[in-house]
Amino acid sequence: MQRQIPLTIVLVMGIVMMVQFFIPHPISRSLFELVNKWARLIGVFALILGAGSLIFYHLTKIQRKAKGWGFSIVALTSLAFMTVVGWLAGPRSMGNPAALYQVIYANVQVPLGASMFAILAFYIVSASYRAFRARNREATILLVAAFLVMLGSVPLGKDIWDHFPKISDMLLKIPNMAAKRGITFGIGLAGTGVALRIILGIERGWLGGGK
């Protein structure tokens, strides 16, 4: 019984939303928007659950003085501080760059996020150096193609040889696009298969395991 109710809900809603896709009538559109609104609402409540989990996780680490418990203090302090600041500032702080919430966001959160993003530049070097070895025929083709695209993507490449940008463009527009379309096609159809398995109750992993 515990499993039958969610399985029935999934079956009914799956079929309803599938049929809804083919009906352009405003009633169908309203149903779609209603379901979307409920999904967003449920997401907000789940955020409360998530925040609770985060607090509990770090409190446990601090209590047990587990490895890295100092960072847990920083995490909880930041969470509490931003919650209080955001709550006091209110939604009107969104358009006001001088609001404390915005100042902290712009001067702490944004540079931290940008720094993490910038790490990619270094990781690309180490990953490329390690992985781009001409071990076999396919790896050699990959290596040559990568060189051509990289040289065609920068002004210096054109200075070296006029044709690098054209070759790079051709590689991106023809074999690259063909492979992408093939993979996208497979993903779309496989997604249909997964969705059908879930709707029919064959795939039940999302229930938390078990039959």
Partner: protein, 406 residues
């Protein structure tokens, strides 16, 4: 007083009647010029009106939209077309202008119609403030209950569903179904064993997608299978989550896995936790877990964006064996470069069936492959016919190609 009334009546008798424009007729404009009577400007010749003005309800939509089409005015030097609309009711038609279109246009879509009203449209060819009008038939917009443009999707879905259900039926009957080997999935057992031998945890990252995305569901299905193995061997499994809805589901799956293998006491709920919804903050947190806890095996399965290489490369730095899988095509090259095994696109979706080896799941996998094959054959055939139809004498192939396209 009587003289005034007589004068007014006399003026009214000789004054020309007000012109009401009738459909199909031109509206001459007499310009009032300056100067003497003899220098009064000649009337501007109005252009010939457009013909065959037809209004009809826009098909396959939710209503409030009317399509208007016409044949161009025979006059080539018109400035454009003025489109007007009147509500059909009791009394004279009162036209309001909707839009002015260039002379090259011969259609218009009115998306502000009210489904409860009947309308008449007027298309006026305009030249030097003179108009040649043509009216349409009365029309009312209405919403449709079925979008016929999507009929080809129904056909494709029917083909796929048929094959899936057919092979599920055969799987139930006990028929052996062949699935090709997927290296990344075959390595799961080895990867879990490695972590157990080294006494180090396994890190499972379910991606940054939400529960509504198929890749996330596929990732969670794989988590269930891996959790069973780790529960059996007593290996620690760490699952940091970015989505607050995915988090409780992941926790339930791992708990259920421990219960299934008869070891509910070894389940550690603290190992499955929510981190943050911010993309790079999540990546930083997971990197921190990798550097501190030094997992022996990393599973990076689900939806990833720019943080994919950050996670994969950090995993390589700590010496973990890495099995990744995503349906985000732009991130696949990073995983292929930095990870030991990569599940590409639909291999991720097939993983739960592949690992569980349950007949029903395998049946659906085989079925979807056959359905895909049929669709690919139709697509290739249609494209080939379309190409061939360009040859002399083979134009009729376009018809066949269009049927396949539909």
């Amino acid at each position: 007083m009587n003289l005034l009334v007589t004068l007014l009546l006399l003026i009214g008798a000789v004054a020309p009647p007000a012109t009401t424009t009738a459909p199909g007729e031109a509206t001459p404009i007499v310009s009032s010029g300056t100067g003497t009577d003899s220098a009064a400007s000649a009337p501007v010749t109005p252009p010939l009106p457009p013909t065959k003005v037809r209004a009809y309800d826009t098909p396959n939509d939710g209503g409030k939209s009317i399509n208007l089409e016409w044949q161009p005015s025979p006059d080539k030097d018109i400035e454009g077309y003025l489109v007007l609309r009147a509500v059909l009711g009791a009394g004279e038609l009162k036209f309001d202008s909707l839009d002015f279109l260039p002379g090259s246009e011969n259609s218009f879509v009115d998306e502000r119609a009210d489904d409860k009203q009947r309308y008449v449209y007027r298309v006026a060819a305009v030249r030097s403030a003179a108009q040649g009008n043509a009216d349409s038939n009365p029309v009312r917009s209405a919403p449709q209950w079925f979008n016929a443009d999507l009929f080809n999707i129904i056909v494709a879905m029917a083909i796929i569903f048929f094959f899936i259900l057919y092979y599920i039926y055969h799987a139930r009957k006990g028929k052996q179904l062949f699935i090709r080997r997927i290296a990344g999935l075959d390595a799961v057992e080895e990867a879990v064993g490695r972590a157990t031998e080294m006494g180090r945890p396994i890190l499972f990252v379910p991606g940054i997608g939400d529960i509504g995305q198929v890749a996330t569901i596929a990732s969670l299905n794989i988590l269930g299978e891996i959790a069973k193995k780790t529960a059996q061997y007593g290996t620690a499994l760490i699952v940091p989550n970015r989505d607050p809805i995915v988090f409780p589901i992941a926790r339930e799956m791992v708990k259920e896995a421990h219960t299934k293998v008869g070891r509910p006491d070894t389940f550690k709920p603290d190992n499955i936790f929510f981190v943050t919804t911010e993309q790079f903050a999540y990546a930083a947190a997971v990197d921190g877990i990798m550097v501190r806890d030094k997992p022996a095996t990393n599973f990076l399965l689900g939806i990833f964006f720019a943080e994919s290489l950050i996670l994969a490369e950090t995993g390589t730095m700590v010496g973990a064996i890495q099995i990744a899988g995503t349906d985000q095509i732009t991130q696949l090259p990073f995983f292929i470069t930095a990870c030991d095994y990569t599940l590409i696109g639909e291999e991720l979706y097939a993983a739960s069936a592949y690992l569980a080896r349950e007949p029903l799941l395998l049946g659906s996998l085989v079925g979807q492959d056959y359905g895909k094959m049929i669709i690919v054959i139709v697509a290739v055939l249609g494209s080939a016919l379309y190409l061939l139809s360009a040859l002399k004498g083979l134009n009729w192939l376009t018809v066949v190609s269009r049927i396949l396209k539909t």
